[in-house]
Symmetry: C2
Subunit: 814 residues, 2 copies
């Protein structure tokens, strides 16, 4: 157990570490050469095209020579605070703004409570002083003098702790209510202020029944013409393009080789050659550029054939479809109602925005979803409680003897003492570290197997799984020593009243551990986040070896994004720690508060300057955030009850029983009051927007706008591909997209460009079943509002999606 000094030292070291990170960040960020690493968002949003420079010299192009800027190295903090919330929403989307509110919520909840707890509880605890007498028997840290452990059993002072717990719960609930209200209003306002977007008019329909003698499009058309005669417009069939996607992948590989040889050619000025055999080790030697050019040409031909096959073959048509309506009201009605007598057919729900769709999962037959969910549920349970078993097994293999057995030739090396000790210290931990590193990805894959069709939902599900993992293995695992499996075993064999007591007793003893955890994982982790070491190194490597043109440089940027599936569960863990320790060891609160404040600044800076939004869920994660804070409150109340019964505080403990009931009722009330706003689109709202639109644009043709909004992105990408590819041509399209985003007045031009592509695209030429019974009349709708806001963010995915970008998109979620 650490004493107060130990913690002080640890805090100093960590503060110093974080400070070093910050200094490094402050220096690196003002170098022009790093500008694209630390300010990519501005490039993406088009407000910056080249690094800011201190002067015009050649050195000044790479290094900041303005010595004044080095003195104001912390000025990113006030800068991060400058932007108002509404600007952030416009600049980085509502999700980011609401994400930041989680941090301010933490500050608001814990700030006043910290003052209260420090003023009331610390004196109460210190004055009680049992631990002075027990000192010889128990090894107790100094910090325990400030905690509830210091209060004598059966003391009436526990009324103070219960009082603080009550006040804290009421305060937290009050703040939670206000915040839920605010977020719900923000969400509705955002939805109301959005311009026309395809998802407002579209509903995704799963489990379209297979009626013999009718094709799926006919069935869909007939069903919706019958049951939504007044508002049904058209629908977009979904194809099983997984084979085609594989071709796209292979083609992208060829493209990379081609690019590589072109680059080689440009550098060495001689024609590169390669061998055709296995791994290029033997076989006929050919001119690489010519060979790959030829290969790509052939591939393009095959792909266009495959593409035609996909679009024509009704067997590749999935029983899923995107149905569009002529009004938001019609779409909202269809999404919220039950369509068919058989509740497993014609399942409707609001369509996610096109860039949020996880296309692979649309091909999953609906019938298998129940089984998938069951299997994944069991797997997550096993993962959370038994993950140590395979790791221990791997660890037992990955020791020196195991290594020597597998690779006897290494024996002379491993016999060296310092290598031996290094390996012995390193190998067993390696398996665990690799596991923890890949865990979020594994959980995301699990969520994918569950079959959700929106990326945002996938991330929320993965976040939930990660939270359970952390709750059991970090929180409970640290409090009760032993693996999760051992905990499970002891929980199954203890009485329900014994469990909170067992955990409650150990809680105050682990305060020092968690303080250290907050500093190492929280403070230093956040400081590491702002430094962006990995993207920095990768960008410069790419810059050195690959980048030839300005457009390549744009592609070499890796802005990253708020990784909700990892960040939110960690955040919720900090909430849990703060809530549990408020009444027990209030000295932990300042550390939490510093974390929240610091993380708030850092993420605000990153969201403004770095991250690029992946999708917009309009804060759909808030109900989860709210729910888990409530769960933390319940956990803290139960544990405090357990702790107090172990202290034999029979007078005061029964007072706590009412608290969980009140908290649960509060949760139920909030769920009832706010959650529908996050799940369903109210008709009042839909009708108001429809009316406004009808008044402002009476001659609007929505059908044209909705035409291909929900076509699988690889089909779009193929349309854009020029017959003989080169890296510059594909990157020019993405640069033009980024320019389009910059200058909104240019969108009209871009749109025209898009329509031309369309009219010559194989889709329309083939006359495939797209059911837009009207002619495209893009050109005649110059006043179309279906523009700026949406195009700004999604045009790159939709219209200028080339294979590279598709690949990138796919790899990120595989």
């Amino acid at each position: 157990m650490a004493t107060l000094q130990d913690i002080g030292v640890s805090a100093l070291i960590n503060l110093f570490g974080a400070f070093l990170f910050l200094i490094a960040f402050a220096v690196l960020r003002i170098q022009p050469i790093n500008d694209r690493v630390y300010f990519p968002k501005w490039y993406l949003s088009g407000e910056r095209n080249s690094p800011r420079r201190s002067d015009g010299t050649l050195v000044g192009k790479f290094v900041n020579l303005n010595y004044k800027t080095y003195f104001t190295f912390l000025n990113w903090m006030p800068q991060a605070m400058k932007m108002s919330e509404s600007e952030i929403i416009r600049h980085a989307g509502l999700d980011s703004a609401i994400f930041l509110r989680i941090y301010t919520l933490g500050l608001k909840i814990f700030g006043p409570v910290m003052v209260l707890a420090l003023v009331v509880l610390v004196p109460v605890n210190v004055s009680s002083g049992t631990l002075f007498f027990l000192k010889k028997e128990l090894v107790v840290s100094n910090i325990d003098k400030l905690s509830i452990s210091n209060v004598q059993p059966k003391s009436s002072k526990f009324f103070f702790h219960i009082g603080v717990e009550y006040l804290f719960t009421f305060w937290a609930c009050f703040m939670l209510y206000r915040e839920y209200n605010n977020v719900a209003i923000m969400r509705l306002q955002y939805l109301a202020s959005q311009r026309r977007r395809p998802e407002q008019f579209t509903v995704v329909v799963r489990n379209v029944p297979d009626i013999p003698g009718h094709s799926i499009p006919d069935t869909v058309d007939q069903f919706f013409k019958t049951n939504h005669p007044e508002h049904y417009l058209c629908h977009q069939a979904v194809y099983n393009a997984n084979k085609f996607a594989k071709l796209v992948k292979q083609r992208a590989k060829l493209q990379r080789w081609f690019d590589y040889y072109v680059l080689k050619h440009q550098r060495s000025q001689k024609n590169p050659t390669c061998k055709l055999g296995f791994l290029g080790l033997w076989g006929k030697r050919v001119d690489s550029i010519e060979y790959y050019k030829q290969q790509i040409k052939e591939f393009d031909h095959n792909m266009s054939l495959e593409r035609q096959k996909v679009l024509k073959d009704s067997k590749l048509m999935l029983p899923v479809t995107f149905v569009s309506f002529d009004s938001r009201w019609g779409a909202a009605v269809c999404a919220q109602t039950q369509q068919s007598k058989n509740p497993t057919l014609w399942l409707t729900s609001s369509a996610p925005e096109p860039r949020d769709i996880y296309w692979q999962n649309l091909a999953i037959p609906f019938i298998s979803l129940t089984i998938r969910k069951l299997v994944i549920g069991i797997s997550v349970f096993a993962l959370v409680f038994f993950y140590m078993i395979p790791i221990a097994f791997v660890q037992s293999l990955a020791n020196l003897e195991g290594l020597e057995r597998v690779a006897p030739f290494l024996r002379p090396v491993t016999r060296l003492d310092f290598i031996k000790s290094f390996l012995q210290g390193f190998l067993p931990g390696l398996a665990l570290k690799i596991f923890l590193w890949i865990l979020p990805t594994v959980l995301l894959v699990m969520s994918k197997i569950e079959g959700y069709i929106a990326i945002s939902t996938l991330e929320r599900r993965a976040a939930a799984k990660y939270y359970y993992f952390m709750l059991v293995n970090v929180f409970l695992g640290s409090i009760i020593a032993g693996t999760a499996f051992e905990q499970l075993h002891s929980f199954l064999h203890q009485s329900p009243t014994q469990i909170p007591r067992t955990i409650g007793v150990s809680i105050p003893m682990k305060a020092t551990f968690f303080i250290t955890y907050i500093m190492v994982d929280g403070w230093a982790g956040i400081a590491g986040e702002i430094l962006r070491l990995k993207p920095l190194v990768i960008f410069h490597l790419k810059n050195m070896f690959i980048v030839k043109t300005e457009e390549d440089r744009v592609r070499a940027m890796d802005p990253g994004f708020v990784d909700f599936k990892e960040t939110i569960p960690s955040l919720q863990l900090y909430f849990l720690l703060g809530i549990v320790y408020t009444a027990v060891t209030p000295i932990l609160l300042p550390f939490i508060l510093i974390f929240f404040a610091f993380a708030y600044l850092v993420y605000r800076h990153q969201i403004i300057n770095v991250y690029n939004q992946q999708y917009e869920s309009c804060g759909a994660f808030w109900p989860h955030v709210h729910g888990r804070i409530i769960a933390s409150l319940l956990i803290s109340q139960l544990l405090l009850m357990g702790l107090l019964t172990s202290k034999e505080a029979a007078d005061s403990t029964p007072l706590l029983i009412i608290l969980p009931i009140l908290t649960l009722s509060f949760h139920k009330y909030c769920k009832h009051r706010f959650e529908p706003a996050f799940r369903q689109y109210p008709l009042e709202e839909a009708m108001a927007k429809d009316k406004l639109e009808k008044e402002t644009e009476p001659e609007l043709n929505i059908k044209a706008d909705l035409a291909d909004a929900y076509l699988h992105p690889i089909f779009h990408s193929f349309e854009k591909e020029v017959p003989l590819p080169s890296s510059s041509s594909s990157s020019s399209s993405s640069s033009s997209s980024s320019e389009a985003k910059t200058h909104q007045e240019e969108t009209a031009e871009v749109r025209v460009d898009k329509h031309e592509t369309h009219s010559s695209s194989p889709v329309t030429e083939l006359g495939t079943p797209f059911h837009h019974h009207q002619v495209y009349n893009y050109a005649t709708s110059p006043s179309s509002h279906y523009a700026s806001a949406y195009e700004q963010s999604s045009s790159q995915y939709e219209y200028h999606y080339n294979t590279h970008q598709y690949e990138e998109h796919e790899y990120r979620y595989n």
Copy 2:
């Protein structure tokens, strides 16, 4: 513990008792004088007007003299089986038909399993024979030789029991699935075949916001005209008529006195008098008939004033309204969608049918519902676990000493030995008996406080509470001796794995108790149900003292109804017993099967001949029935696991772990597959019916049909009341209603009668805000389909509702 002989004797006694009941029933039912007690349904449905007689003599009017009919005394059984299911649906409603299916489901589940268990498990258990050795140590009944207790610990024979449990679960799930499917189809078919009914077009809207400067009707009108412009038709405001209802009650009291004196006058041929003072003991003596006539006249004047006040005063208008649409599609859409940005405003749900509405609860402010639910939740928990505490307190008071202290003058009496012993045996049990007798009513009142607005929902909620009570106090309470409170205490202090073990071990020992329970409560209870002793006595008392005319006799009939809130929970308890004992003591199954078969016959007979349906919920209780059978399966699996671990069957027990997971997944699947059909009206269905109607009746005026469908019944009743009331006039209206029900061709006439009432009724004269912006044109819609099926059952509640009937209706649910 009982031996096999004991059980045999007990079974014989109970069979004999039940047989006696049946003989009594067989004799009583064929007496013409009892015809209205045992066949009221036929009178209500109009197919019978006077008792069947064996001959024309005077004696033959009261007693059956045809000796032949006495020999065929069991012929009610084949008679009960004669009617087909579709006829039952037509005759007694879908709820009754589906209720009967619960019994056949029991037969289908337990029949084959009984054969399997008796053939496989009983030989296995008998051959094992541990109990022969243990005999001296344990007091074990003979029946235990046939149960799992007889198998030696660690025996591999437990694989048989696990195998049977698996087979049984699969079989039960298969039958449950088939039955759920059947019931869902029956429900949809019934809904599809129904004629036009107001609830199909109507949505109940709660929490209408109070917009300053707008009256509630204006707000509603504006909101729905804006947000459902294509389908909104009209709405019916709801008034807080609780004060008016009180007046109606008082007036009914006066009416009863008036009737009493009129009767007295007729009998004695002299004018009765009464005193005006307290309880009629002193004061001025007046002529009673004149006095009450005068009083009623004054009262009617006051009521008509109060009525005008209610309808005019906007403060008495509740923020609840019934909104009607011009199509089923429009109503279904409105009921299933979210209307407002604020999810606590404009809450829509499908309207219950008018006779199913519990009007008092419409006045409950929506905001208090959460609190009410919380309070009732806690109360039910307390009631289930701590009900013994107040009863023990009352018992401690209600002993002889307590009685003597309260009433010392009784001392000489209570000192008598035989009175003393009688009181001592009787008093303590009295409190418990009174409690158990009023429990269903208490639970119904609790459900009312929760604020549900449909009587069917209230009954379902009360049934759920009753089930929890029985599960804890009858099932668990019998298995583990001790009060529920002691159980709760021990559960809180035992580990989760210990609890099933504790219960599991005692299960086989309690088999004899439950066999006796099935015979006493089940067999004899059902035989008592068919005898209808209480209605028989009351009918003959009424017949003797009150009844003057044929119409009075109709009112004296008490057909009763299927008491879902008591019957279904008891049934579910039998399911639980059968499911738990299948693998443990299979000898219990024949007793359960006999119960199901016998109860099926009895209820079939009662539904056909006796019960009058209260409301039609279209089998809305089935998901609960299904869910609780699944819960019973889970309980049985857990208990078997506990039992086997106590038998140290470590080889075989782990095999059982998969079973609860499979059962839960099955439940989830069924919930997903079938439950929406019980909650929401699918649009496909709604649209199909709308279309059909439009084709067959293009000139239909729905608005006229919907006009007053959802007016509070007391307003209807007042309309019908003639100025100077007499019992014969009010009963003539009810007789005309029963005639209307009989002869469907007469409905048109009845309707015209109703319209006349309308046009002269104060409602329309006052021009109160009913928002039927169209003139009533009932007369011009002779082809209206809004007739037979609905009027048949509800006209009495709607149009001919007189104060007596309202009273009756209210008392039953208070």
